[in-house]
């Protein structure tokens, strides 16, 4: 198989599988289609993560390498947070205290693992240098954590009452993200130069802002397209008011059901 064909099959088709499979799994009302969507999503994701072996010649395989590098901390964080949440005050299917402890350990290890990817020797390296997509992912994630936790701090205060504990937690999360960004911009890691990190932080902000503006314009256009289509539809046909005979019949039926003796007396 030619290199270009391999790239189309193992990377771009796999990416399409992830997008279409994810949408089918989330939006479809048919059970079979949801299962098919889940299978497509899993298959596509697996193919993307295998690209360092299936497409070693392609620069795109660095993205597959990044995905593979993030499986460990991602699963630890996801499962750990789930364990902590569902060992709390849930009425059904509550997990045990041990599960909660295991969850806390998983979250701590997940966070430390991510930190070690910047501050220790676990930085994703492919091929022979720091993975170029790591420079995009890590600043984006830190900026995302800061923005979302700051917004959540306000949101919890607006919609909840006596939620000071959650607000404090969001403040701590924001502060942690700020400290990590400032430290990353001031001190070198074993593989990441501080000036490179600082520049990538600015680029990540540009990426996020650009993506948000692009998405907003697309959604606006979508709304316009649907509004124009709906406004061109003929108004639904209005029924004629009921006749005297229909009203009489309706009142008889109602009287049969709501009048007369009560059964429980």
């Amino acid at each position: 198989m030619e290199e270009a064909t391999q790239a189309i099959v193992f990377f771009w088709l796999a990416g399409l599988f992830v997008v279409v499979g994810g949408m089918l799994a989330f939006f479809s009302k048919v059970q079979g289609q949801r299962r098919l969507g889940g299978a497509l999503f899993g298959l596509g994701l697996l193919s993307l993560m295998l690209t360092p072996w299936t497409l070693p010649f392609s620069p795109s395989s660095a993205f597959g390498h990044l995905l593979g590098s993030l499986v460990g901390p991602g699963v630890l964080l996801g499962v750990g947070l789930y364990q902590i949440a569902f060992s709390g005050h849930v009425p059904v299917g509550r997990l045990s205290r041990t599960d909660r402890t295991v969850g806390i350990v998983m979250v701590v290890v997940g966070v430390l693992w991510l930190e070690a990817m910047h501050w220790w020797v676990l930085t994703p390296t492919y091929p022979g240098e720091v993975n170029r997509y790591w420079y995009i992912f890590w600043p984006t994630m830190l900026l995302g954590v800061l923005t979302l936790s700051s917004a959540a701090y306000v949101l919890v205060g607006l919609v909840g009452q006596q939620r000071q504990q959650e607000q404090r937690l969001m403040l701590v999360t924001s502060a942690l993200a700020i400290v990590l960004m400032v430290l990353g911009a001031m001190f070198n890691g074993p593989s990441v130069d501080h000036q490179r990190f600082a520049t990538e932080l600015i680029f990540a902000a540009a990426d996020i802002f650009g993506a948000m503006v692009g998405a907003a314009v697309a959604i606006l256009l979508f709304a316009v397209v649907l509004t124009v289509y709906e406004s061109q539809q003929p108004a639904p046909q209005r029924l004629a008011p009921p006749t005297e005979q229909q009203l009489e019949q309706a009142s008889q039926i109602i009287a049969q059901h709501v009048g007369g003796e009560s059964e429980d007396e």
Binding site: L81, I84, S150, A198, T199
Partner: protein, 153 residues
């Protein structure tokens, strides 16, 4: 009666979402960044790629919408044109020499690179969302249930 503006919560939410990140970026830019050359290029590439990608996703959702509205072709055609517009604009701006091109050798390579970069951005934001929402939810579920206190009449 409260005289607060109904927009105040949204203003507060927006301010808290943007200002801390903006302050950190200013600090980092002031202390550690030598040159911000290329930022506008990254912004423009991200905008065009995101517009095209989200238009494509929204076009796919029209199949679900079509089931409820007897499969109309008009909105599908409209969104298809939107996707085409995004692709055409991307190709046009990328082919204008140094305007949006980065280190890639061809327009196709740059467009594909933009798409992978967008996927990486979405991955970073997705994991950030999981961490923040998971932390908040875990805290909410582990707070002891509160009893409702009625005010004395």
């Amino acid at each position: 009666m409260s005289d607060r503006s109904p927009m105040r919560p949204f203003t507060l939410l927006g301010a808290f979402a943007i200002l801390p990140a903006g302050a950190v970026l200013l600090l980092v830019w002031w202390t550690s960044v030598d040159s911000t050359e290329g930022t506008l290029v990254r912004f423009s590439n991200a905008l065009l790629t995101s517009f095209t990608f989200i238009s494509f996703i929204l076009m796919m959702t029209l199949f679900v919408y079509g089931d409820a509205r007897k499969r109309p072709l008009a909105p599908l055609f409209g969104m298809f044109m939107s996707v085409l517009l995004g692709v055409a604009m991307t190709v046009f701006f990328l082919s204008q020499g140094e305007l949006l091109m980065e280190d890639n050798g061809s327009v196709r390579a740059q467009a594909l690179s933009n798409l992978i970069r967008l996927a990486t951005t979405l991955l970073g934001l997705g994991l950030a969302g999981m961490v923040v929402a998971g932390t908040l939810f875990a805290s909410l579920m582990n707070t002891p249930p509160r009893s409702i206190q009625f005010e004395e009449e």
